[in-house]
Symmetry: C2
Subunit: 459 residues, 2 copies
């Protein structure tokens, strides 16, 4: 980057970056700019996320860490000045990984090559001695079915890669994740003894990425594990040389009875129409990997910090802004369901905004509602031009708030840049080290701005 | 992030993210999309940058590593199919850090507290035994001048912070970097014995960030060093308690005679008007910290890879695209000067595009030229909407290509998201680990698209 001789050049560059917009007279424009700068200068999302990540860490539903996180969130909401802070109880599943996870390729000469594997969320355990079996590698259900009896008694290795060429990484994810969700069912149907699934990441790394998987009642339950992308490539290469190699896999996960947990709720009560509510939220639970920093500690702290900043500015909107830290998004969605199911007499949700795509640089929002309300939301897009995030695009909201769709509640999602998201997703490196403070804080400001404007102006 | 039950919701989200644009009929639109996808799927920028970063590392002008990097770049251009690959020699300054860099705060009771410091680029050494002196902390030239004789014989500690509240980090940098550039001069004028400058980063970290500094002929040369932001805060706190504390600083840098180095040049020769040239480039030298990955290995590999991709698609534009890996951007600008000064009879540069703001997610381009040509450039903005980078804004080009301004050559810069840039800038953590492959590759595609379109359509 240029040295001093070009400082003057930079200044030209920088000044012009903030467009001399046609939108300067848009209401709330100076407030938006103020919130961006405040969040960069004295926002507390990053500090809070560091505390949550380092001192509690990952927090799968029903775990002691999840319970700690519930209490931590309640305390943080109180500390940040939210009102009516409370727990709304919800029963959640309790899946436990167990301590033993082992994987290795066993060549015909007996040589063992270790590979990094991890149980998929919801999987049963292997027998205590593990499973050793030959492997069939497939890339689709069709390819598996065509194998017929060749799959009997085998480990079914689902190795269709996350498509790196998709610009939008969620599309790459969407094109591969069926293997994780349905692999155990399809492998069992085909007579396989276990499903081994290539990790859902565009990156070549040695982290196995976990995530939800399912069973159904028509076929036997067999265990399912993820293998790192490096491990998957290695296994695939070795299979070409040694089609009769075996893989040894051992996981010790189990499902315990449901336990009580809670959504954590706090508010900035509306001054005039408090029964009309804008919900903003993220999910407090995470997979039992890394620190659940991007997924979704980021969303939780952004929403709490958003209200803190509004209060610091002495702002109280006409309608209520309610922050919900949802429990159990990852393996059940019980928190979102419970929130939507709870009777709240006289209350009306006018919008719900979720932040659950990582604490990365904001690029805008997506919204799903009727065209009239979509246009009403989209008119606020220029407020976000200060950070070049002035896009409000058609698209979904988020898993937790999706349970409000039947009630007709407009769905909105904070849309960050997602190129890096699946590097860390459900893996050991979803840690605070991989969160950039400024990007996280700008997302918090976005949540503050849009929730305030909607609570003030209605929808 | 939502689990499988919401995959269908994602798909809606993702499909709609690529706007059903009005610009589908823009020429080159399908080519742009193809280049983005190719760069993500099989681009070689990241692989090349990994090689350069790990196997050569930082490469300050005149160093053995810089010489290796020149040869590496020539070979890489040849390997990637560039034409007329050559070195254009240039004499460069040779500043050497030396092996010893020590800093500590000495409290009145004799207790020593180490702080992380590093010589600023171009500084003379301290005496061999170092400098131990009392300290004056200032935040502006005015504050320093007002000290009068209180600054005599002292270490002048410039501690005006990089303003974190600036949304555009280059603006925060621009508001602080005068201390680094002019600190030694101003401290000497005030009778100080050394300049100690707070590192130019918005982050609180323990890396001292180096960078260029200057002397002039009217005052004595005194040594100048950077202190990490953590160290600067510590020193400032301690000064409040112990105004008479001393700081001990020792650096061993020196300036050797100029040596010969080179710009590395390669081309994709134009098919019809080869004497009209679009220059694209970055700088090959770096500061002697980290691996020079973002600054500016990223820009160099993006440009070479851009031409490789165009060739892979069998494309040859009407005009020539010339890649220049400039030498000595960081401490002299000699490469840029030499490139601009070289006589190239019959040739005309129609535009110059620099990538020197890090290998981060592209947000668009900036351009500086007359309004007619600006509009001609800006009409291509929609080609970059596929990655939401469809902004072409008024602004500078880059230090290396700025030497072409007197010839009237339009200046263009790739504009990435710069929130993270100054975390790593001129510091030990400017390493490949902090570069995201997908973001780097999308930048390479941007360089390929804009250079091709300009070389094809003219300006």
């Amino acid at each position: 980057m240029p040295r001093l001789l070009n400082v003057s050049l930079f200044m030209v560059f920088v000044v012009l970056l903030v467009p001399s917009s046609l939108s300067q007279n848009l209401p709330y424009d100076s407030l938006a700019l103020r919130l961006f700068k405040m969040s960069l200068g004295s926002g507390k999302s990053y500090e809070a996320l560091t505390d949550l990540s380092v001192n509690i860490g990952h927090r799968i539903s029903g775990s002691p860490q999840a319970e700690k996180a519930v209490q931590w969130t309640k305390k943080k909401m109180e500390e940040f000045g939210l009102e009516n802070v409370r727990l709304e109880p919800v029963m959640v599943p309790r899946w436990v990984r167990g301590e033993v996870e082992e994987g290795s390729v066993i060549l015909p000469d007996g040589k063992k090559i270790p590979v990094k594997i991890t149980a998929l969320g919801g999987s049963i355990a292997t027998p205590a001695k593990g499973i050793s079996a030959e492997v069939v590698e497939v890339h689709s259900w069709e390819e598996l079915r065509a194998l017929g009896e060749k799959a009997w008694g085998k480990i079914v290795f689902f190795n269709r890669p996350f498509d790196r060429t998709k610009i939008h990484t969620f599309e790459g994810y969407g094109g591969a994740v069926d293997q994780r969700g349905g692999g155990a069912i399809e492998a069992a149907k085909a007579g396989g003894v276990m499903a081994l699934v290539r990790s859902m990441t565009p990156r070549l790394d040695d982290f196995p990425h976990t995530g939800g998987m399912g069973y159904n009642d028509t076929v036997p339950k067999i265990p399912a594990a993820a293998i790192s992308t490096i491990g998957a490539n290695k296994l695939s290469d070795l299979l070409k040389q040694h089609p009769k190699l075996k893989v040894y896999l051992k996981i010790s996960s189990k499902t315990l009875p449901d336990v009580e947990s809670a959504n954590v709720v706090g508010e900035l009560k509306g001054s005039e129409i408090p029964n009309e509510v804008v919900v903003i939220g993220g999910h407090l639970d995470s997979w039992d990997k890394g620190q659940g920093a991007h997924d979704d500690g980021a969303g939780v702290v952004q929403c709490i910090d958003a209200v803190r900043m509004l209060k610091e500015l002495g702002l109280r909107p006409r309608r209520t802004i309610r922050v919900v830290a949802f429990m159990n998004e990852e393996n059940g969605g019980r928190g979102g369901q419970a929130y939507a199911a709870k009777l709240r007499p006289g209350e009306k949700h006018i919008a719900a905004i979720e932040s659950d795509m990582g604490g990365f640089m904001p690029r805008g929002f997506t919204a799903a509602t009727d065209s009239v309300r979509f246009e009403k939301i989209a008119r606020w897009a220029p407020l976000f031009r200060h950070i070049m995030a002035d896009r409000i695009l058609p698209g979904g909201g988020g898993a937790d708030i999706s349970w409000l769709i039947p009630q007709g509640v407009p769905q909105i999602a904070l849309l960050p840049e997602v190129q890096r998201y699946f590097n860390y997703h459900h893996a050991d490196d979803d840690t605070i080290d991989n969160v950039e403070e400024r990007e996280l804080q700008l997302g918090a400001a976005c949540m503050a701005i849009l929730s305030y404007v909607l609570a003030q102006e209605g929808l």
